[in-house]
Symmetry: C2
């Protein structure tokens, strides 16, 4: 089969620059760093320390787990796991870390189900109401980095040095 040069030019003109595997590595890199920040908290402070009207870091992490799980199920309808979207509140650091690790697996196991086209399809999503799939992934990464920045200040206010990335 042969293609006219205009077809090829049209393909080239798409000019996308981030590969799905690069996006996954970027995201999981952040998730590994956030895991180290969860670990740096003493159990008591993880569940009770907060500043102003902000929530304890455990609640932020619980949210991250919930919306990441929801996102995977929305983006990949035929997910390979049957994990519920809403996860019951938990009360130990060990359980929070294992939820984190399950989510890491859930993302990795379903990533290859994403077609190129899927990244630009519109989905209903969380507080954004609706957005494109790649925007949902950016939102998840950014929300995580935002809360981790807050966790750094919590640790500092407790006299604990945050992990060095």
């Amino acid at each position: 089969m042969i293609y006219h040069y205009k077809t090829v030019a049209a393909m080239k003109s798409i000019r996308y620059v981030i590969h799905p595997s690069e996006l996954l590595i970027h995201w999981q890199g952040h998730r590994a760093r956030t895991r180290r920040v969860i670990e740096a908290f003493p159990q008591e402070a993880l569940y009770n320390h907060c500043i102003g009207s902000l929530r304890p870091f455990s609640e932020m992490v619980q949210d991250l787990v919930t919306i990441s799980t929801l996102a995977v199920h929305t983006i990949v309808p035929a997910t390979r796991t049957n994990r519920p979207h809403m996860i019951a509140l938990n009360h130990t650091k060990a359980r929070l870390l294992s939820l984190w690790d399950e989510t890491t697996l859930l993302i990795n196991e379903n990533w290859d189900e994403l077609s190129l086209e899927r990244f630009h399809e519109t989905i209903p999503f969380w507080s954004l109401n609706e957005c494109k799939v790649y925007e949902a992934i950016f939102y998840l990464i950014d929300t995580e980095v935002h809360h981790r920045g807050q966790a750094f200040v919590y640790l500092e206010s407790l006299g604990i040095t945050a992990p060095d990335f």
Copy 2:
């Protein structure tokens, strides 16, 4: 000119999913939100308030301006402006905001100079030593979101409600 199907298949197999204009909109969306957070600080607190060993938010912003400017000059060697990489410390919120706006313009004015290939070329960059161009851009976005998360806690500790995104 015609192409063999294998050439086209190879092109298709690249499977990039983020377009340069999408990345720019994503970045500048964050920069607009960060500008609102700078504005939310009283001048005195912007330059003096900190928690633990962390720096005042003005110093974090100054760093973001410096590394963004450095990045644009490194990524686009023929930048259309001759702004110095290192920017002298400043001492007013108004000056900090105008530096922010100059950086916004610098990024926009040079974005179209970036070729598709450039995003995957390796450059020397800041504390990463060297990285690919798209990784440098992700780093800039993430560092900004990280510091903005810290700024949210600073505002809360001052009894100021952070802007609603």
